[in-house]
């Protein structure tokens, strides 16, 4: 069956429908849906200065590509990119090359910060020291740095490449772990009222599936060589993602249903949980829900591990 609009060979069949689209019709569909999401949830205002958090992977380069197209049309918005180098040997250094190449070709300023420079250790080193799941440590430090650096760079929005699959996984993960208050911080636009130190985050691909984003990235030549994070299989998210994909295959439309119903209850969750007081971390002055933020708790553990190791080595000298 050819493309619904122009009888050319199709590149994708849309989820939950029999509609097939060719390359140019799909790119038009994709960008229209992302721009509609931006409009529907009021993600971008006049004179916004947006920091796009990129990794060099297909999701983040696609969102940067899309917002760059928007910035070319709307001269009132400004874009910069930020990349966090966690220090994962054989992985991040490859995607950094793709990120640098894209930003250079499109004349976008790219700011790179690393765990090593900011926290003293690479993620590989932290994993060995803490004997903890690297994904949770990585997530805490990445969010911490992206928000802190956004303030320092004086931008007023952070854009990420999170897609419908990512959000559906997060909703389920929070349900499975009884972390419903964390779900109150999800949605296409987050961090508006909670604290002035939190820079609002926007997700223009909120209603687009991972497969659609990958198709868009492939057609726009935004995909490099496939490289998998060595810690990927150690994450809880990975199990939820596989479970959800199996369910989607058996019952098409499952992911869309999760997000549609979540958007219905999200205002209630925000009303219930967003009034909870945000404190200032006593150690680093960043916003937190407890006395000391999680990033500082991890840093404290890293220091203690170092101290214990020194004491242990000293006992043999």
């Amino acid at each position: 069956m050819p493309c619904k609009n122009c009888s050319i060979n199709p590149v994708i069949q849309l989820t939950n429908s029999n509609i097939k689209l060719c390359k140019s019709c799909f790119i038009r569909y994709f960008e229209k849906k992302a721009f509609k999401t931006i409009h529907q949830f009021n993600l971008i205002d006049k004179k916004d200065e947006i920091e796009v958090a990129i990794s060099g992977g297909k999701d983040s380069l696609s969102v940067l590509n899309l917002l760059n197209k928007l910035a070319e049309k709307r001269m009132d918005i400004k874009l910069t990119a930020i990349l966090i180098d966690e220090g994962i040997k054989g992985y991040r250094n490859e995607t950094i090359k793709d990120a640098k190449k894209f930003c250079k070709n499109h004349n976008i300023k790219l700011n790179i910060y690393s765990f090593k420079e900011e926290f003293g250790f690479t993620l590989d080193e932290m994993k060995n020291k803490l004997k903890a799941r690297p994904c949770s440590v990585c997530g805490v430090f990445r969010r911490y740095l992206i928000n802190k650096k956004a303030r320092e760079l004086k931008v007023n929005k952070i854009a990420t490449g999170h897609n419908l699959d990512d959000e559906a996984q997060a909703v389920l993960m929070n349900q499975f772990k009884n972390n419903i208050q964390v779900s109150a911080r999800l949605g296409p636009l987050t961090g508006i009222k909670r604290n002035p130190k939190f820079i609002p985050r926007i997700k223009p691909f909120y209603l687009l599936t991972e497969k659609e984003v990958m198709t868009y990235a492939f057609l726009n030549r935004l995909t490099g060589k496939y490289i998998e994070c060595p810690y990927e299989s150690e994450s809880f998210r990975c199990d939820v993602r596989d479970f959800l994909n199996d369910f989607e295959q058996k019952y098409p439309g499952t992911k869309h249903s999760i997000i549609s119903s979540f958007l219905e209850i999200l205002p209630l969750l925000k009303t219930k949980y967003e009034s909870s007081k945000i404190k200032t971390c006593k150690s680093c002055s960043e916003p937190t829900s407890s006395e000391i933020c999680t990033a500082c708790e991890i840093r404290k553990k890293l220091k203690n591990v170092n101290y214990s190791a020194l004491k242990y080595r000293a006992s043999f000298s």
Binding site: K23, T95, K211, T215, F218, I227, E228, C229, Y231, N245
Partner: protein
């Protein structure tokens, strides 16, 4: 049915499969179609695309690397 040589990008290896179309090939390889995109002779195609033994097939995962 044609015998196909399929390149799996995630595993970085080739596999031989006997199938008429991509949907059938994915089923035999035990790959969920929602988790991949497929190219035939370097062009992106849908899973009902017919195949011949001369076609170059590449299966690319849609999940992020991490």
């Amino acid at each position: 049915m044609p015998k196909l040589k399929i390149y799996l990008e995630r595993e970085n290896k080739n596999k031989s499969v006997i199938a008429d179309n991509i949907q059938e090939a994915l089923k035999k390889l035990n790959i969920n179609p929602t988790t991949v995109i497929v190219t035939k002779n370097n062009e992106l195609v849908t899973i009902d695309s017919k195949l011949s033994s001369k076609d170059k097939i590449r299966i690319i995962p849609v999940i992020s690397g991490g």
